[in-house]
């Protein structure tokens, strides 16, 4: 049995309005710490866009030559991040935390004691929607090339994703 034309129009309107509502909701749930462009946040693939590019030479001393490095921009989450890193499955990877108050990460984790804004710019980390201090991470391979960078306000709870991306190097 074929639906009436009125039923077909009703289906069209209901479906498009419903999906439009979902689109509006998805935009409204972005937080101030998210990327301006949600497509660039946690894309899950190496070498996106202009990558790979060389890591900034002025920050070469925080990297570990010949070894992959993950540079975390922890913002105010430094304490929680430092508590989770030992169980993050990131063995064999040099870890650097950029944040004030990240001393709890020592030893074993490099610490760059700054708010992270300048270092984030040097590594090309995207800007937050509110322009605040970024929370996210950058993955640099053993050749000193930046292969992955993303904002991730939920990084403390998603460290297994960091391990997945490091494994993909």
């Amino acid at each position: 049995m074929v639906p009436t034309r009125r039923a077909l129009v009703t289906v069209w309107l209901a479906a498009v309005v419903a999906m439009g509502a979902v689109l509006v909701v998805s935009r409204s749930t972005q937080t101030p710490g998210d990327d301006v462009d949600p497509a660039r946040q946690r894309p899950g693939i190496l070498d996106l866009g202009p990558l790979p590019v060389a890591a900034p030479t002025e920050l070469a001393d925080v990297l570990a030559p010949g070894q992959p490095t993950v540079v975390f921009f922890a913002g105010s989450q430094a304490a929680d991040l430092c508590a989770e890193l030992p169980d993050a499955g990131l063995d064999g990877v040099a870890l650097v935390v950029v944040a004030t108050g990240a001393d709890a990460c020592r030893p074993g984790v490099g610490v760059l004691g700054s708010s992270g804004r300048e270092a984030a710019e040097a590594f090309g980390l995207p800007s937050r929607r509110d322009g605040g201090i970024p929370v996210g991470y950058v993955i640099v391979d053993s050749a000193g090339q930046i292969r992955y960078r993303t904002l991730d306000p939920s990084v403390v709870g998603l460290l297994d994703e960091v391990a997945t991306m490091v494994d993909a190097l």
Partner: protein, 145 residues
């Protein structure tokens, strides 16, 4: 066409309910607040593809595609296979665009708004095909008044 009987309406509603539950589970499989963007992209890309295939099915079979919501869910699942792999520890790679442009679909100009427009056109194509093609062979249309 007469109105659907209560049993027909219930059957349709039960399919809707199953689909809603499945889609909620797929959504929950994305773990963070920024997941809605990814879920919606792959839903719209999958649903649009399903609607185009359903339009082709309707054109050749001269009747509406059966279980239309199942087509949509299956296409959505196909589009998000790389995300299921990611949950299993496999990072994305460019060849995964085989799954309905899984990676590139996020980067179309206009992002998900563009996909919503594509979805609207695909739905229009399917419903117009149902209206024109399936109605032309609908026995009810031939029945005496």
């Amino acid at each position: 066409m007469s109105n659907p009987s209560p049993s027909q309406a219930l059957r349709v509603c039960s399919w809707c309910l199953v689909v809603v539950v499945v889609e909620v589970l797929l959504y929950v499989s994305y773990r963070s607040h920024d997941a809605r963007f990814h879920w919606l992209t792959h839903f719209l890309a999958g649903a649009s593809t399903a609607l185009v295939l359903m339009a082709a099915w309707t054109w050749f079979r001269r009747r509406p595609a059966p279980f239309p919501l199942v087509w949509v869910v299956v296409a959505h699942l196909f589009a998000m296979v790389p995300d299921l792999l990611f949950r299993a520890g496999v990072a994305h790679e460019w060849w995964m665009d085989l799954f309905l442009l899984h990676i590139r679909s996020h980067f179309v100009p206009g992002r998900n708004l563009t996909w919503l427009v594509v979805f609207g056109f695909a739905l229009t194509a399917y419903l117009v095909t149902v209206d024109r093609r399936a109605r032309s062979s609908d026995p009810a249309r031939m029945a005496p008044a």
